[in-house]
C-alpha cells in the first residue's frame, strides 16, 4: 500500500502550496477571463454611448432641417398665395377691360346700325312720299280726268304724307 497522509493532518508546506495555487489561479482568471471580458464590456458600453450620442445629434440635425424646410415651405406658400391673388386681380381687371371694350364696341355698332336704320328709313320714306305723291296725282288725274295744278297738289299731298309719316 502506498504511503498516504493522515486523514486529518496539517502540513505547513501543503497549506502554503494551496495558498500559492489559489493566488496563481487568481492571476490566471484575472488575466485570461476578467481582463478580456471587461475590456469587451467596456468597449461595448462605449459603442452604445457613441450610438446614443450620434442618434441625439442626428435628431437635433433633423429638427433644424425640419424647421428650415417648414420656414421655406411657408415662404413659398405665402409667395404663391400672393401670386395667385395678383393673378386673380389682374385677370379680373383685364376681364372688366375686355367687357367694357366689348360693351363700348357693341354700343357703337348699335348706334351705327340705328343710324343706318334711320337713314334707310328716311330714304325709304322720301322714296315712298315721292312715289305716293306722284301716284296720287296720277290717280286723281285719272279720277278727275282733268289737269290739276301739279305744284299746288304736290304741296298739299306732301303735307298730308308728312302727317302720315309722323303718325307711323
Amino acid at each position: 500500500m502506498a504511503e498516504t497522509l493522515e486523514l486529518l493532518s496539517i502540513d505547513f508546506w501543503q497549506t502554503l502550496m494551496a495558498i500559492g495555487n489559489l493566488i496563481i489561479l487568481y492571476f490566471i482568471v484575472k488575466k485570461f477571463l476578467y481582463k478580456p471580458v471587461n475590456e469587451i464590456l467596456e468597449s461595448r458600453a462605449k459603442e452604445v454611448d457613441d450610438i446614443y450620442s450620434e442618434a441625439e445629434n442626428m435628431r437635433k440635425e433633423a429638427r433644424t432641417y425640419k424647421e428650415t424646410y417648414e420656414d421655406k415651405l411657408n415662404k413659398v406658400k405665402n409667395e404663391t398665395d400672393q401670386m395667385i391673388k395678383k393673378a386673380t386681380e389682374s385677370a379680373k381687371l383685364r376681364s372688366e377691360e375686355i367687357l367694357n371694350e366689348a360693351i363700348a364696341e357693341a354700343d357703337n355698332e348699335r348706334r351705327k346700325a340705328e343710324n343706318d336704320i334711320y337713314l334707310a328709313k328716311k330714304k325709304a320714306m322720301e322714296d315712298l312720299s315721292t312715289k305716293v305723291s306722284s301716284m296720287v296725282v296720277e290717280l286723281s288725274k285719272q279720277i278727275v280726268q282733268k289737269e290739276i295744278d301739279l305744284d299746288a297738289h304736290q304741296k298739299l299731298i306732301d303735307s298730308a304724307i308728312d302727317k302720315l309719316g309722323e303718325s307711323v
Partner: protein
C-alpha cells in the same frame, strides 16, 4: 475485507520536508483546466457577440459581478476576480472526484490554506476600514471581559470555513467508500454459493453509488462552493462596515 479511509497519497518527497501528494497534482491539473477554459472562452471576443462561447464568458463574469453587487455592494467591484477564482477552484476541486482525481478539497491543508487567504482578506479589510486601533478596540467590545472570546471568534472564522468545506467533501467520499464496501459485502454474500469468479461479480455496486455520487459530488460540491464564496463575501463586507 479491509476498508481504509486515508488522506492524499504521497507521490514523492522533496527536501525541507516538502511532500508532493495527489492533492498537489490534482490542483495543478485543475488550474491548468481552468486556465485553458478561460483562455478558450475569451479568445476572439467581439463587441457584437457572435459565438456562444463569448456569451458564456460574459454570463459568468456578469453573474459573479451581480452577485458581488448584491451581497457586498459596488465598492467591492475589484473583488470579483477573486470570488470567481475561489468559486471555480472549489467547484472544480469538488467535481474532480468524478474524473478519478483526488479532490483537493478532501485535503484539510487545501481548505485551510484557502480559508487563511480569506481570513487575511477579512483582517486587512477590517484594518483598512477601522485602522489597527479600531480593529483591536473592536475585539474588546462590548466589554473587556469578552476579549478572549472575540479573539477565539476571529480565529474560528477560517477554521470553521476550512472544516466545513473539508468535512462536506470528505463525508461524501467516506460515505461513498463505506457504501462501496457494504455493497461489495452484500454482493459476495448473495453470490457466495456460485462457483469461481461468478461469486465476485459486483452486482450491487452498479448503479446505486451513482445516485449518491450525484448528490455528494455534484449537488453538494456546487452548493459547498457557493456557500464558501457567500461566506467569504459576507465576512469581508461585514468587516468593511463593522463598528
Amino acid at each position: 475485507m479491509e476498508v481504509s479511509i486515508t488522506g492524499a497519497r504521497v507521490l514523492f518527497r522533496l527536501p525541507l520536508g516538502i511532500t508532493i501528494t495527489e492533492t498537489q497534482v490534482s490542483m495543478w491539473i485543475i488550474m491548468l483546466v481552468i486556465g485553458l477554459l478561460c483562455k478558450w472562452l475569451t479568445h476572439d471576443l467581439k463587441v457584437k457577440p457572435t459565438s456562444r462561447r463569448q456569451v458564456v464568458a460574459e454570463t459568468i463574469v456578469n453573474t459573479i459581478n451581480n452577485l458581488l453587487n448584491d451581497v457586498m455592494g459596488v465598492r467591492f467591484k475589484d473583488f470579483a476576480p477573486f470570488v470567481a477564482t475561489l468559486f471555480a477552484f472549489v467547484v472544480f476541486s469538488n467535481l474532480s472526484g468524478l474524473f478519478g482525481l483526488f479532490s483537493p478539497t478532501a485535503d484539510l491543508n487545501t481548505t485551510l490554506g484557502w480559508a487563511i487567504v480569506v481570513f487575511i482578506m477579512i483582517l486587512s479589510t477590517n484594518i483598512k476600514t477601522n485602522g489597527v486601533g479600531g480593529y483591536l478596540k473592536g475585539l474588546t467590545e462590548p466589554v473587556v471581559f469578552f476579549t478572549p472570546l472575540n479573539v477565539i471568534g476571529e480565529f474560528a472564522t477560517p477554521v470553521s470555513m476550512a472544516m466545513r468545506l473539508f468535512g462536506n467533501v470528505l463525508s461524501g467520499s467516506v460515505i461513498s467508500t463505506l457504501l462501496y464496501a457494504g455493497l461489495a459485502t452484500l454482493s459476495s454474500f448473495v453470490l457466495q454459493k456460485l462457483p469461481g469468479f461468478l461469486a465476485n461479480i459486483p452486482i450491487f455496486q452498479l448503479g446505486i453509488p451513482a445516485i449518491l455520487s450525484i448528490y455528494f459530488d455534484v449537488f453538494s460540491g456546487v452548493l459547498q462552493a457557493f456557500i464558501f464564496i457567500m461566506l467569504t463575501m459576507a465576512y469581508v463586507s461585514n468587516a468593511a462596515s463593522s463598528e
